[in-house]
Amino acid sequence: MSTLSRDEVARVAGLARIDLTPEELDRLAGELDVIVESVARVSEIATPDVPATSHPLPLTNVFRADVPEAPVDRDLVLASAPASIDGKFAVPQILGEDA
């Protein structure tokens, strides 16, 4: 199992869209390395014959009928938004967007 380097933490923080200060990076790299080493134990007993469990209870086929419900109040939603214009959410320029 690989250890978690500072560079790796920086890469993962980028994936998770979290800006970290250099001090935070230093500290997190140290802490996460210890934690990862500890949790990596799971692979000791996770043999191929053991099936994975993703849900605590084995339910299947839970569906909703295709029936409309009332929409959420747009004014309430936009009132709690950082910025909005003409009924739309206003967000900073999006990279890679066709103008």
Binding site: L15, R17, I18, S38, V50, S80, P92
Partner: protein
């Protein structure tokens, strides 16, 4: 009428039904208590006095008009701030949601409102329910009413402290790895994590979707049963909700309160005692076992060998799911937006917002979870953890073949001092070692007081039952509670020091 804040929710409901008191009086009494002790406890992030009194007045009016009301109508309640409440600020203890007012109610809040329980306010918690001490709240610590220098447990320290400090007779908690049960243990209160799917998760700000469950936080087992029956049941908005009626929980509590447990097999989990557990915690645990035996229960020892891997599996599954669940907090649609200089892109605004809006523990877990899911690591980490989950379920299946309920101390220690474990995440994670297996397997668990440790602080006794057999918790819990309180000559909370009153 004695102090309305000191009686149980069941007793208050009874007095309301008999019109001996009004809901406005009861609600006002609790708002007064909040005003008196919040300076010391800080259980609430937001107190909604006006709304609570308005609900109370409405209930009083309807009662006077002879309407048929829910048994708990008019009994005030506090709600953990991870639960979405229309019109009331909801932050999940995070700066990133500061000022957000949800446009909708969680299903359990709809039920609470429909039943006419005045909502006193929103309780403090570790940010996004990540923590075991409530010290990870972005809005300051909550203090344990037994000793203000100590933690109230977490993540639901606010709900447990509010109930323990008589600020509310009932509260809602959520439990992903022990966030209801561990705070209950360290504050001398009662907390129940229902079977996964027993209470709708719709409107709970998700931490780990496959582990989260909302449940009652109260001072008595019967009160938990009453609240559990109110908030539980099938909800089509939650696809993982169980489409079956709840078992009779209040009835089970009433049956248990007779003190007879003849024929009940109680399994003691070998792996959840011994090393790492305080001697005082173990002493109270063993005394409670004797009490159960005295009530006619048969005590058996069961082994769950894979539990030693539960913590590791939990700290992969939880961060992985959380990293995805918390992706939506990006400053685009609601909550905080941090805009760096120079006309930044959305991408940079998201990263800046999340960098400044999330606290240390949240960042730690999101990065851990992102790492565990990222290319090349999935099988070793998340995939393996899901397999451990299967092994833990099998352990429980085997154990429940030998016993009707399983028991352990709820937490290895009593409340530790504020700040004591803040710099050691792994030590903090160990607090949940006894509560986590239930979440991984989806089974119900309860914590109730089993006495005071050598340090004079409360110790919790955990009862676990098979999935959908939540009624067993209430039967065994109510029996133990009745027998212990008989021995103590009253509830354990009577032994707590009186808080200094403001004013």
């Amino acid at each position: 009428m004695s102090d309305l804040t000191r009686i149980s929710a069941a007793a208050l409901a009874d007095a309301l039904t008999k019109k001996e008191v009004s809901s406005v009086e009861a609600t006002q009494a609790h708002l007064d208590r909040i005003a008196d002790v919040e300076h010391a406890v800080h259980a609430f992030l937001h107190v909604s006095g006006d709304e609570a009194l308005s609900t109370a007045a409405d209930v009083d009016r309807r009662r006077a008009a002879g309407e048929t009301l829910h048994a708990l109508a008019g009994v005030p309640i506090a709600v953990k701030d991870v639960v979405v409440t229309k019109g009331l600020p909801t932050t999940a203890g995070s700066k990133i949601l500061e000022g957000w007012v949800p446009p909708y109610d969680a299903t359990l809040v709809e039920k609470i409102k429909a039943a006419g329980l005045p909502i006193l306010g929103k309780t403090n918690m570790d940010e996004f329910a990540m923590g075991s001490s409530t010290e990870h709240s972005a809005y300051g610590n909550t203090h344990n009413p037994w000793d203000l220098d100590r933690i109230p447990g977490g993540s639901g320290g606010g709900s447990a402290a509010a109930v323990g400090a008589y600020e509310a007779p009932l509260a809602i908690g959520t439990d992903t790895g022990g966030s209801i049960r561990q705070p209950a243990a360290v504050t001398g209160t009662v907390g129940v994590k229902p079977t996964y799917g027993g209470v709708s998760r719709y409107g709970l700000i998700a931490l780990a979707s496959s582990l989260d469950q909302a449940g009652p936080v109260t001072r008595t087992v019967l009160d938990s049963a009453l609240l559990h029956e109110l908030i539980g049941g099938h909800d089509p908005r939650d696809s993982t909700s169980i489409d079956e009626p709840l078992p009779g929980l209040v009835a089970a509590a009433q049956l248990g309160a007779t003190g007879d447990l003849s024929g009940v097999r109680v399994g003691v989990i070998t792996e959840l005692q011994g090393e790492g557990y305080q001697p005082g915690v173990l002493a109270r645990f063993h005394e409670s076992l004797e009490v159960l035996q005295g009530a006619g229960a048969e005590i058996v020892e069961v082994s769950c060998p894979h539990f030693t891997y539960a913590l590791a599996a939990y700290y992969l599954i939880l961060p992985a799911e959380a990293s995805s669940n918390l992706a939506k907090f990006d400053g685009m649609r609601f909550g905080l937006r941090v805009v760096p200089e120079d006309n930044p892109t959305a991408e940079r605004v998201m990263a800046a917002t999340r960098g400044q809006g999330f606290g240390d523990e949240v960042k730690r877990r999101i990065i851990l979870g992102t790492y565990a899911l990222s290319a090349g690591y999935y099988d070793a980490y998340y995939g393996s953890a899901q397999k451990v989950r299967t092994l833990i379920q099998r352990d429980f299946d085997a154990a429940f073949g030998q016993a009707d309920v399983l028991v352990s101390p709820t937490a290895p220690t009593t409340a530790f001092r504020l700040g004591e474990k803040l710099d050691d995440p792994l030590a903090m994670y160990l607090n949940d070692v006894a509560t986590i297996p239930a979440n991984l397997a989806g089974i119900p668990g309860m914590s109730l007081p089993s006495g005071l440790s050598d340090d004079g602080l409360p110790v919790g006794f955990q009862i676990l039952a098979p999935a959908k057999a939540d009624d067993r918790l209430y039967r065994v819990g109510a029996a133990l509670e009745m027998l212990l309180e008989t021995a103590w000559e009253g509830p354990l909370l009577l032994k707590a020091p009186e808080l200094e009153i403001a004013r």
